[in-house]
Structure formats: C-alpha cells, structure tokens
Subunit: 363 residues, 2 copies
C-alpha cells in the first residue's frame, strides 16, 4: 500500500483540480540565485505531466503549495541536449577536417532486454546525428563472460574506437566488476572505472571521464546559470552510476553535500534544507512537496514505468519526484521524460569526443 | 585576529574557572546509543588539556555547557592503538611460524623536515614493536622526482616489501600525483591511489587499502561500540587523505553523511545536526561548543602546534576541536594528542599486514 501512495498520480482528477497557470520566473532572483533563461525556451513545456501525488496526511507545506499558482521553471533537458549535440557535431566536423579522425563509440549489448535495446538504439541514433561512428555488438543472453571480455579486448586495441560502453544490466551469471574493469580506462566513456570515481572524489585530480548521467545533471544546472558554489545540496540515492558521482561532482563545484539513502532516518527533513536536490533512487514519486524548500532547484533522475490504463502502452514514465507537488514549490525542476534522460546520451557522445581529442591530442 | 579567537586557550585561567569533575558515563544510553567501555580505561586521561576557547559572543549553548559538570567520555586512541598493535604482533608471529614470511614496510623520506622525520621514526618504532621489517630511504631535499621514482620501482619489485609509503609533504618541485601513482596499488598501504578511493566510494567494491587516518577514526568508533548505521554524520574538511575518505567510509557504514568545508555558509548549523562529527581541517580549536549537538561523538583529527610560552618546547599541540567546550556537550571525544594520532600508525602496520597476507594468500 505504501507504494500506492507514491505511484497513484491520476492525471484526469488533477487536470480538474489544479488551474495550471504558469508564470515564467524570468530574470527574477530566488533562493538559488538569478535564473537567466539564456537559451531555454520560455513556453510552457507541452510534455509536462498533469499529475498529483496523493497522501493520507499531506504536510502543511504541501497544502500551502496547492493554493498558489506559482510554478517552477521547467528545465528542458531535451532542448539543452539538442543544443549540446549541435555543438558536438560542429567539433566532430572540425576534427575530421583538421586531422581526418572521426570519433568512434562501441556498444556491447548482451541479451534481449527491451529497455536496453531501446537505450542502445537511442545512443546509436545520437551518434549518427553528431557524426560519430558507432559500432555495435549484440550477443545472446547465455554468452559467457569470456566472450564479452574478448570483444572488449578487441575494441581496446582498435584505433578507430575511442569509447567503449557495455550496456547494463548484464545477465546475472556475469560479474559486472570484471567486465567493466576490462574496458581500457582511456576508452571508458561511461566513467565507471574506480580510478575515474576516485579522481572525481579527490582534490587536484582530474577524472578522464565523468559518468554521463550525473555529468548531465550538473551540465543542466550550468546551462541554466544555477550557481552551485556554497549551496546546500542533497543527493537522494547512492548508486555507483548516479548518486555517488553526482554527490562528488557537486562537492567539486563547492556545494555542501549531504547524501540521503535507504538508511537515512528523516530523509525529508534533510532534503528540505537543500538549495539543490538531485533525486536518483528509482522510486516513483517518492520526493513529495513537503520535502522541498521553497525556491530549491530539483533535478529528477528517476525514470519509473507505472501502470496507466489510459496510455496506449499500458504504462507511463514518472520520476522519483512528485512533479505536480514539487513544481509548485521549487524554482526550477526537470520533467520526466524530457529532463535528465536526453542529457545522458548527450554526455555520452560528449565523452566520446573528449576521448578522441585526447587520444589524438587535438584541442 | 580571527585566528586568535581559535588559538587563545589559556590553561591557567581555565583551571581556575572550571571545576573539572569527571563523571564517567559507564553503561549509560545517550543520543548515539549505549557506550559500553569494554576495553577502554575508565580513569580520567592525564593527557586531557585544560583549556577554554574564548569568543567575543559565545553561543547560548556554550554558556549552558559551562554550567554543567557532565563531561564526555575520552576516547583513548593511545590505548586502542596499543591493543591493536598487540593483535597485529600476534598475527605477524603466526604468519612467520606458518609460512616463514615477515611483512615489510618501506618508507621513503625526502628532505629534512623535522615533523616528517619524527613521523617516520614513529612508524619505524611501531613496525619494530609488532615484528614488521622496516626499510627506510632518506634522500636530500634537492633530489629529483626521477630518483624517488627509482626507489619506488625497486620497492615495487622487492618481494620482501609488502607496503610502500612516501612521506608527505614532498618538496615543492616534485609532483605528488606522479610519485604516489608510481607505487604499486598492491603495496599502496597509504591507500592514496585513486583506484582505492574510487572503490571506497563505490558500492559492491572493496578497496585494497583504506587510508590510515580515516580508517583509524572508524576503528575507534567500532572499538568503543559506537554505532554508525543510520546516524547523521558530519565530516569537517575534504582533504584527499582524511576528510574525503572519512566521509566515504562513514557512508559505507550506512551513516547519512554531510561534508562541511571552507565554502560552507553555516558550518556550525549543519554540524549541530550530527550524531558523529569528524573534524579534519587543520585549524586549532575551530569547532566550538555551540557547533555540537548534546550527546554527539566527536573525533578530532587536527594536530595543530600553537605557541605556548609555558611549554618547554615553546608550543603545544591542540586539535581542530575546542576540547574544553566540546567535552562538556559531547558524549565521547578524542583528545589531542592521544586520540586519532596513535591510530594512524596502528592502521599503517595493519595495512602492511593485510598486504603481506594478501600477497602470500595467508588467512
């Protein structure tokens, strides 16, 4: 039943309940600093979910939020990702013209998971759009670890490959650590090798690659001119691929960072102190309005499918953040989908370009 | 002038001002859980500094603390370190008898810094006391990076050496990163290589070595039966060798961790939320009574020399924590000296033993 509270966000009731008048916060100063929408569109996002998160006992803050029409700026990851892809395409062209090298990304996909296949398709498509060569290996679910390692070894040695990505999750019979560690650290564009994470954690050290999703989160803040230095930040979740590197990145940018996780006794209390919240926990609508300090900036990394009889596919995607509640309290928020998701792939091609430039010493 | 507020802790006035009645908190339950002094001595530590930290405007909490006689349990690092050294000595004997191998630690000291020489002497002495072989290289201040690298390479290849330590700080003309990264990760008993820090940060990964000082902090908590799981912890300082790995270790133990640093706007406010505070910033007496939640456990990593005309050497050592104020509010606290300091060397010989056991596959 507890999870029902999080997932039961009905759009039909909400659309009637809430007059969704949007007031763009152009050039206003708020708790997190001036948001100058230099490059983001000011029109309301058509992708904005009309949903509300029900609770047996909503907090006073949540109730208060329902009485105001003020609404957070939508951080449009799709738009920013496209802009970045254009920048990358220009750099790829410049590099090709100058030294005749085209960056190459190799992707290894094991098994037939539909979501993994969809992610790989998306990556290949974006590579194509920016002019990066992509190489794809698909091998069956029952392949051995040794077979995967053989392909990794070949790509490690292949000078036309500058980035290697092993699509996760791997089948249960494989050891993730062995396989990920086999990728040459110079081509580990996912940034998952411990040496990258270690350098990310350390002062006066530079990681060769920063993991794509957290890098995308920080890039969104940067592109929206949201200052991080000296701000209180809370990261919800401590996964190796998002939460932990996101916390390390925020600290590198001089935020004061707290990490909230499953063992945290009062996650909402600590989160409510934050100027910047990154939610990366994989629980639909977990972060409620009462968790958020008015004016905070909220980055929602979650992409959770929830049942929806009205959707043609029978489900729809929601984030870790209860969008409708939080967007009334935050000063800026990423939607799901269309927020962090597109940034991940943009950062992957960015990392591939960085790798090719470094390997060929091209500036 | 600001630093005067931190450093001006006069013992003569304090001894008169404060009746230092100590009430051992044996078997009492406090904010952080039951402290059972299974192995720590219950007598008041003779090394306890009698000092107070003056402030132009002491917080109400500080004033309140001066009116109570209740006092924190002293976490006796010297005693714990000796206990651990006895345990290590027994293991070293067992290993020698079983497979004829004696663990070996190599130390490289560049230049003539008195403090560095003293640390190296201390390390050699402890190695001797536990039966670990020590190898020492001393080369002049104006040596080249190449010379240091040559010695590292020799120790990397030497089967009688299981741990290699380059005493920091290195002369300014040398690149710390180059030199530290030259140490074989299998012999990097300082645990400073990014791959160790990365694994420390990651879930389901095990670092080969954990840096000695933060490992010593956690070991003190463990030996004093202070639970970490689910507790709020604040680490003050984010250095590569203490603050950052200490935060990562606390998070591994399921604490909810916040890192306070020079860019944090209200360090005292956040610190006051913590059940466990680790101060590792290198500023004498920076953490005042008003920073601490009543009943919190405070680990003071700072070892700061401050002028003291009455001391035979003209100076004495104080921590980052204003001991006299904080010991009235905390439930347990490490003294300086005699707290974390002795633990660092104990953890170094512990890491050397771990390394020898791993290399020789001895359990």
């Amino acid at each position: 039943m507890a999870s029902m509270i999080f997932t039961d966000c009905s759009s039909s009731t909400t659309a009637r309940l809430l007059p969704l008048t949007r007031r763009p916060l152009l050039h206003t100063t708020n708790g997190i600093g001036a948001l100058r929408w230099l490059m983001a569109p000011t029109k309301p996002s058509s992708r904005r979910a009309l949903s509300v998160c029900f609770s047996a006992s909503p907090s006073p803050l949540v109730n208060a939020s329902l009485t105001t029409e003020e609404s957070a700026k939508v951080i449009d990851g799709k738009y920013v990702a496209k802009t970045i892809q254009k920048e990358i395409a220009a750099e790829v062209s410049r590099m090709k013209e100058a030294i005749g090298v085209v960056p190459g990304l190799a992707v290894i996909l094991v098994g037939n998971r539909k979501d993994s296949a969809a992610y790989v398709r998306q990556k290949t498509k974006v590579c194509e759009s920016v002019g990066i060569n992509s190489f794809e290996v698909r091998i069956p679910e029952d392949s051995t670890e040794q077979e995967v390692l053989k392909y990794i070894s070949e790509f490690n040695d292949d000078p036309s490959v500058h980035g290697i990505l092993v699509q996760l999750p791997l089948p249960a019979h494989m050891n993730d650590e062995n396989i990920l560690n086999a990728v040459s650290i110079e081509k580990d564009v996912d940034g998952f090798h411990p040496v990258h994470i270690g350098r990310l954690a350390m002062r006066d050290r530079e990681p060769l690659f920063v993991p794509c999703t957290p890098k995308g989160c920080i890039e969104l803040l940067r592109r929206y001119d949201i200052s991080i230095k000296g701000k209180r930040a809370v990261v919800i979740g401590r996964s190796n691929i998002v939460g932990t590197p996101a916390a390390l990145l925020l600290q590198r940018e001089d935020a004061t960072v707290s990490v909230v996780h499953s063992r945290t006794s009062n996650p909402e209390e600590l989160t409510r102190q934050a100027d910047i919240v990154i939610a990366a926990v994989g629980k639909p609508n977990m972060v409620r309005g009462g968790w958020i300090k008015p004016g905070a900036v909220v980055i929602d990394v979650g992409i959770n499918p929830v049942e929806d009889a009205k959707s043609p596919r029978g489900h729809r995607l929601v984030g870790d953040v209860c969008y409708d509640e939080v967007s009334k309290i935050a000063s800026a928020i990423t939607p799901v989908p269309g927020g962090v998701g597109p940034m991940t792939v943009a950062m992957l091609v960015s990392n591939t370009l960085i790798s090719a430039k470094r390997i060929h010493n091209f500036q």
